[in-house]
């Protein structure tokens, strides 16, 4: 395993704001704190080359976990092994082997061209000028940075900046790439492009990718395995396929008709019914898809039909609400 975490716990103390002037004065003398348990007894392991989505609602503990794994934060309890190293005892050695992109934080110098930041990062990672030059040329080609590499970072679009950020995190050819919300604020086209680049990178170099994102598309298109975390602990760990097709075993059927919908089958609920169109939801635990389609075609004159799995957002929302496969089936 390239990453192995056992029984990880991390809490933060947050000051409780007292009300009124007297409360504020009292809190100056004796402040009250409340404990926030950001990560609770978390265990997970990741094999080499995995594309892992690590998802959860805001405040679930995703970023804290990444920061514990990368050695930024100290754990209260538990053990972390990344590439056989302890991130807190071997922070410098580990940082030569991992790359990190925090969507909200930049490692590029705002007033300088990205090429200068790359050169500086090359020095930070103890690379020779020739090595840095060769690696920048490779990344320039992969991420198509040619047109804007020499422009000051402040003049780049968000999409261009994120491409430069990811390239910067790969300058030292890391074995694991941690991406924390890399597509935050990007438009659909740029997101798709960045996803393709990450996928290509994983396929060509075998880099392990640990991704947190709120974007269902990122997760669905990129990752083979999903870990869902809520209130600092794992609530789901399985394959993307399993999550999509087994966890919530339902399909959405959009159908365009020449008349009113005529369908009454157990396990099929009508979500929307308009004069010439309808949206249905089939629960595959109760209804057979073949039978649903045959009945639909037999009873109706159909112009167009589209069958899709439950959108990823909804799958995640269901897990957040505490619904598991078993509960969903009941």
């Amino acid at each position: 395993m390239i990453l192995d975490i056992k029984g990880l716990n991390k809490s933060f103390k947050s000051p409780v704001k007292a009300e009124g002037l007297s409360g504020r004065v009292k809190s100056l003398i004796k402040g009250e704190y409340r404990e926030i348990r950001a990560v609770r007894d978390l265990s997970l392991s990741v094999p080499r080359g995995e594309m892992l989505a690590f998802i959860g609602p805001n405040g679930a503990g995703k970023s804290t976990t990444i920061k514990l794994i990368t050695g930024i934060l100290y754990p209260d309890e538990g053990s972390i092994s990344v590439l056989g190293m302890d991130p807190h005892r071997q922070r410098k050695a580990l940082s030569l082997k991992i790359g990190t992109v925090f969507g909200q934080k930049s490692q590029l110098w705002y007033h300088l061209p990205a090429s200068d930041s790359f050169s500086l990062l090359g020095s930070i990672y103890n690379m020779s000028a020739g090595e840095t030059e060769r690696r920048v040329a490779e990344l320039k080609e992969i991420f198509e940075l040619g047109d804007f590499l020499d422009q000051p970072v402040r003049k780049l679009s968000l999409g261009q900046r994120i491409r430069c950020e990811i390239a910067a995190s790969l300058i030292h050819s890391p074995e694991i790439l941690f991406l924390d919300e890399p597509s935050i604020g990007l438009d659909v086209v740029v997101k798709a492009r960045i996803r393709d680049l990450i996928k290509r990178l994983n396929e060509e170099s075998g880099i392990t990718v640990f991704l947190t994102s709120h974007d269902a598309g990122d997760i669905e298109k990129l990752c083979r395995r999903v870990i869902v975390i809520n209130e600092g602990t794992t609530v789901w760990d399985g394959s993307m396929k399993e999550m999509k097709y087994s966890l919530l075993n339902r399909r959405i059927i959009d159908v365009k008709l020449e008349e009113e919908l005529n369908l009454d089958l157990p396990g099929v609920s009508i979500l929307k019914n308009r004069p010439y169109s309808a949206k249905l939801e089939a629960d595959l635990n109760r209804a057979d898809m073949k039978e649903v389609m045959e009945t639909l075609i037999r009873n109706n004159t159909i112009q167009d039909i589209n069958v899709s799995p439950i959108p990823m957002e909804e799958v995640i929302a269901h897990i957040y609400e505490g619904r598991t496969a078993g509960e969903a089936a009941e």
């Binding site: 920061k67 909200q104 930049s106 490692q107 110098w109 300088l112 050169s119």
Partner: protein, 258 residues
């Protein structure tokens, strides 16, 4: 690390050059601001002769060392004064993820342009107002570098309190400025408890007074005393910062590197 520091200097200068007019105004403005004090001291010594053994030339030595040491710190170790902000805004993450010694990496990664004005002013004032013997020039150069190291240690010490007590930015900024201000007055005017404070909590004595005395009247025992004091200050700041790192809470605030 040496190559990296050289690159930081080059790139920070290049970033400053993106705004050339602002660079020139800040450098000249700082040099002009410092020069105004020469007239104040000239007028004062014209009236009082000397202050506890310090005449105009000795005070100019204090000034040149304080300005050059402070300027050196601002130019080459300029990120120290922003350390509280870096801690409470969670910006330490970027530095913690890099495979180089943490404290030098943080301190060297930023240059405060106005520091060039202080540095140039301090050196020019020394060249114009002091005896230019090889020993004096050597002691002045060493003292400037040590003063910069101590200014950075003061920043490191006080800003590290942010790990323990929330935002310590104002306290740290006040301490840093007080040390600089006290350093430009003859140490001999301070008596009793204030002298102790100037050797410990606000170590203007270690930063400027004792090095000035050493340039004026060199003594090996005093030099060793100074180096021991410097060592204690640097080690205390380092330990406070290292201890604080365990309490670092990071954060998700948006941030860029300037």
């Amino acid at each position: 690390m040496r190559g990296l520091i050289g690159k930081y200097i080059r790139f920070n200068l290049a970033a400053a050059m993106e705004y050339r007019v602002s660079f020139v105004i800040q450098v000249l403005g700082m040099a002009l601001n410092n020069s105004a004090f020469i007239f104040f001291w000239l007028l004062l010594f014209d009236k009082v002769g000397d202050i506890n053994g310090y005449g105009f030339t000795e005070v100019m030595l204090l000034w040149s060392l304080a300005a050059a040491g402070f300027g050196f710190n601002e130019v080459f170790l300029g990120n120290g004064r922003y350390l509280s902000r870096i801690i409470y805004q969670g910006e330490l993450d970027v530095y913690l993820l890099q495979p180089v010694p943490l404290i030098p990496n943080i301190l060297c990664s930023r240059m405060n342009v106005s520091g060039w004005g202080d540095l140039a002013y301090g050196i020019i004032l020394f060249l114009l107002s002091q005896e230019l013997t090889p020993l004096w020039i050597f002691l002045f150069a060493v003292s400037c570098v040590l003063a910069a190291l101590l200014f950075s240690s003061i920043n490191l010490f006080y800003h590290s309190l942010t790990f323990y007590m929330g935002n310590g930015e104002n306290l740290a900024s006040a301490a840093y400025n007080m040390v600089l201000t006290f350093a430009t007055y003859p140490g001999t005017i301070f008596k009793g408890a204030s002298t102790w404070i100037m050797h410990t909590l606000l170590p203007a004595a270690l930063v400027i007074w004792i090095p000035t005395e050493l340039i004026l009247h060199f003594s090996l025992s005093r030099a060793l005393f100074l180096l021991a004091g410097d060592g204690i200050l640097v080690a205390t700041a380092y330990l406070l910062f290292k201890g604080g790192l365990r309490r670092y809470a990071s954060g998700n605030r948006m941030g860029t590197r300037l």
